[in-house]
């Protein structure tokens, strides 16, 4: 078992033996999906805090 980088060139890494579209299409969509969920979670929290500030008056601001 070796732990070094398997690829001999950057080009080979990008083309993925001809499967680049499928491999990178999977990884980019997965990363984008998680990133979108994180953005939605943060914006929901901000929206909720704004709603609560409005509801309970802004005497603490």
């Amino acid at each position: 078992m070796t732990w070094g980088v398997y690829w001999s060139s950057f080009d080979a890494f990008v083309t993925m033996g001809g499967y680049g579209l499928y491999v990178w299409g999977s990884y980019f969509v997965a990363a984008a999906a998680l990133a979108i969920e994180i953005v939605l979670l943060v914006s929901r929290r901000r929206r909720t805090l704004r709603m609560l500030a409005q509801l309970h008056g802004s005497d603490s601001q």
Binding site: V23, G25, S26, Y27, I38, R44, T48
Partner: protein, 262 residues
């Protein structure tokens, strides 16, 4: 052997009790404190898994480099099924014991579960095209996973359609419980029916048929997705708690604290 008797004047609150955290007010602060730890673990595990999967693991002898989709495909598929079971568990607890927090937890898990079900299908399609020659086929494994995605979407749509939160909790719980039957169908579909989908890559009872680096990459990403799911569900349940408990005194004082610090 005798355990020493506790002093009579010992305050009862020192005894740790899980039911203490069953109320939204007591769960809200520790949930917030846990999020950064689970998020950090998720980032480290996913980065390590993707590093091993894309850079260290060798090309597969039969599938070439298309097999590298496995590193996210398997983790996403596992999480989509596991999160459904967890969601159904909390929905059942909320239904049976009438605990609000358990129902909120079920609602918080649904979008993340749907996300992983979508990712399992998406990466599966991108893997199917080069290996089977088709993006999609109506076989048992793929169809039951698609039904899982629809169950998540149905659960969220049903809850969104009902104004009263506790009625929405109960209706969602019934749907979630009925849908549990689909999870073993997905899991065992490759054994029960003839399907294009390959069998399990990893088994508890026999040695893995893959290279050690391949197994490691897969497990690292799957663990990372697990930690991510916990962080995401905790973050979402905190918003749900604040929205639903907005008229309570503890939320008012909590908001005062938040406004004071930011």
């Amino acid at each position: 052997m005798q355990s020493p008797a506790s002093p009579p004047d010992a305050p009862r609150r020192t005894r740790f009790s899980w039911t203490y955290f069953a109320s939204p007010a007591t769960f809200y602060p520790p949930a917030g404190a846990m999020i950064p730890w689970f998020a950090a673990a998720a980032a480290i595990l996913c980065a390590a898994g993707v590093y091993v999967g894309l850079l260290v693991a060798p090309t597969d002898a039969t599938q070439g480099d298309s097999y590298r989709i496995i590193f996210i495909h398997v983790g996403a598929a596992w999480m989509s099924m596991f999160l459904y079971l967890v969601m159904a568990f909390w929905a059942t607890v909320g239904l049976a014991w009438n605990t609000r927090l358990a129902s909120m937890m079920a609602s918080a898990l649904a979008p993340t579960g749907a996300l992983f079900a979508f990712l399992a299908l998406w990466t599966g399609a991108l893997w199917g095209k080069p290996t089977w020659g088709t993006w999609w086929v109506w076989d048992a494994r793929l169809t039951s996973e698609l039904i899982l995605l629809f169950l998540y979407i149905g659960f969220m749509a049903l809850q969104a359609a009902i104004d009263d939160p506790r009625r929405a909790d109960r209706a969602g719980a019934v749907l979630a419980i009925v849908g549990v039957i689909n999870v073993p169908i997905i899991y065992f579909s490759v054994q029960w029916w003839n399907t294009l989908h390959q069998g399990s890559s990893i088994s508890m009872t026999r040695a893995p048929s893959m290279a050690a680096t391949m197994v490691l990459g897969m497990l690292l990403v799957a663990l990372g997705f697990w930690m991510y799911s916990i962080a995401a569900a905790l973050a979402r349940v905190r918003s749900i708690i604040l929205e639903r408990e907005r008229r309570t005194d503890w939320v008012v004082s909590e908001i005062g604290k938040t406004m004071g610090t930011t």
